[in-house]
Symmetry: C2
Subunit: 337 residues, 2 copies
Amino acid sequence: MNNQRIVLASRPTGEPSAANFRLEAVDLPALQDQQVLVRHHYLSLDPYMRGRMNDGKSYAQPQPLDAVMIGGTVGEVVESRHPGYAPGDKVVGMGGWQQYAVVDAAQPGALRKVDTTHIPLAAYLGAVGMPGVTAWVGLTQIIVPKEGETVVVSAASGAVGSAVGQLAKARGCRVVGIAGGPDKCAYTTDELGFDACLDYKALGHGKELSLALKAAAPNGVDGYFENVGGAILDVVMARMNAFGRIAFCGMISGYNGEPIPMANPSLILVSRLKLQGFIVSEHMALWPQALKELGTMVATGKLKYRESIADGLAAAPEAFLGLLKGRNFGKQLVKLA
Amino acid sequence: MNNQRIVLASRPTGEPSAANFRLEAVDLPALQDQQVLVRHHYLSLDPYMRGRMNDGKSYAQPQPLDAVMIGGTVGEVVESRHPGYAPGDKVVGMGGWQQYAVVDAAQPGALRKVDTTHIPLAAYLGAVGMPGVTAWVGLTQIIVPKEGETVVVSAASGAVGSAVGQLAKARGCRVVGIAGGPDKCAYTTDELGFDACLDYKALGHGKELSLALKAAAPNGVDGYFENVGGAILDVVMARMNAFGRIAFCGMISGYNGEPIPMANPSLILVSRLKLQGFIVSEHMALWPQALKELGTMVATGKLKYRESIADGLAAAPEAFLGLLKGRNFGKQLVKLA
């Protein structure tokens, strides 16, 4: 059987381009004992993949050249030589940028069966998947919001940001989003229930954004979920209350090589801030608790989300490059079947 | 009775100078009920005073103009109209830059009687006082060092830094100091038992310091006690291990107005660091526990310290300006009686 896949053809210098990827077709091998063949329905595209394309030191191993790009996937078992899986089972895994994956199902965590009765399959890549759990961990373990506090989140209409805001609202917080463009902003306030949203494309990254944040967070900022990095971090830091907490989840702005400095780190002392970085895959023990809350909220309509769906594997590179530029609106997926 | 005192005459623009201070003599008022007259033996000079000289937003109220400069003091009760204090009692307080203080002893925390049987009076301004507790809180509450981990501390020969290193050694850590000059470095390794000390005056604040740190901390850095800020922070951050902790205690470099940026905040995410600022006066509940350990260590010779003693109140401004430039060696005091 034929399998289309996308491999990393070369490492980017600076901004990545479509030329860094190569689409190729290979034959699928016959299944070995304990293996499962999964046909992917959706591939998840996520900012962390940009970091993997580099060769430098990061928290994760670099993506090898000429190997299938890593990525989260949902799909359906089409063939199984593992007793725990049968054709028709819906599964979540890290199948990568390809139509099919041969998975060693005996390996812990390689595949997880999911129930699609009340939760759409694709949601397991978003609100009830890695992005949702990322929001949950950063909010509940680092920001630890109290009722009545103000929480700010950047990339607010994205898969992580939209969950952060709704989880914080469910905890009685005032929530202020930061997003690019009037449509994304209106979405977070009108559909997700955020109290305010600041459009950095209109307000810029300096004085005007700072004044808008002051107006939107009149009691100051207690928690900030950082999805972006760069100048927006500086603006929010300057508005943090004493004992504020910042969860560092994404630093998109810095992925292309040049580090972006933090303007005034002495605020960490002056405002007695706590800044903490985390990676959701290092908090596996928390996933069941997080997925339970997220799944219940999605099934009952209390956690809303939006998806940008690219059609077909060949569309994945452009969709990924668009994600890095914020062109997606909500969780970026690629439909593979 | 006559009392000499130093008031803040003007606020500095940029670097402070002796002209910002004014020495004056005033008559002491007669004691009211519940008041105590304390003759100061030593005044403590500390970096935080620089922040108080500014008018801008900081964690503390600015020092008022024409009022006595604030400061920690130890001394002896010479007259008392409070039943809990008698002439001859040794006390610690915040008496300010003056020879005598009239203290409302009924105010909680205004005065604390201390025992000088095994601990010298001046030590209550250093190793068994605010600097010692500062070291203890930052180390045990934020860095939380495990045996075998590597802890780095800047301003290593100072009152706080020397306690941080010895407390970390007592917990089984490898300790690397950063200090200015060969004498200060030799002191931390030869007398305080640090494993290594890096002289930033010889090594600079860049590549050479970074390579020296790599050699001194071959397993990377797990905890960093930040007393300085600026470029040294960048060097240490780049050597932090995953899940490293940085306690922000001082940012001397930035006190003169211009914020000094942090070069690469994306390391917070990449290395999953925790950075946290703190002020020791906001952790009063921990003082008894901290003072108990510090006092025992001093009394048994396990916590060593060094003092720079300026003679007489008139010498305080120059001693303070020298402290800000790192000219002191150990805890900076002014002998007043």
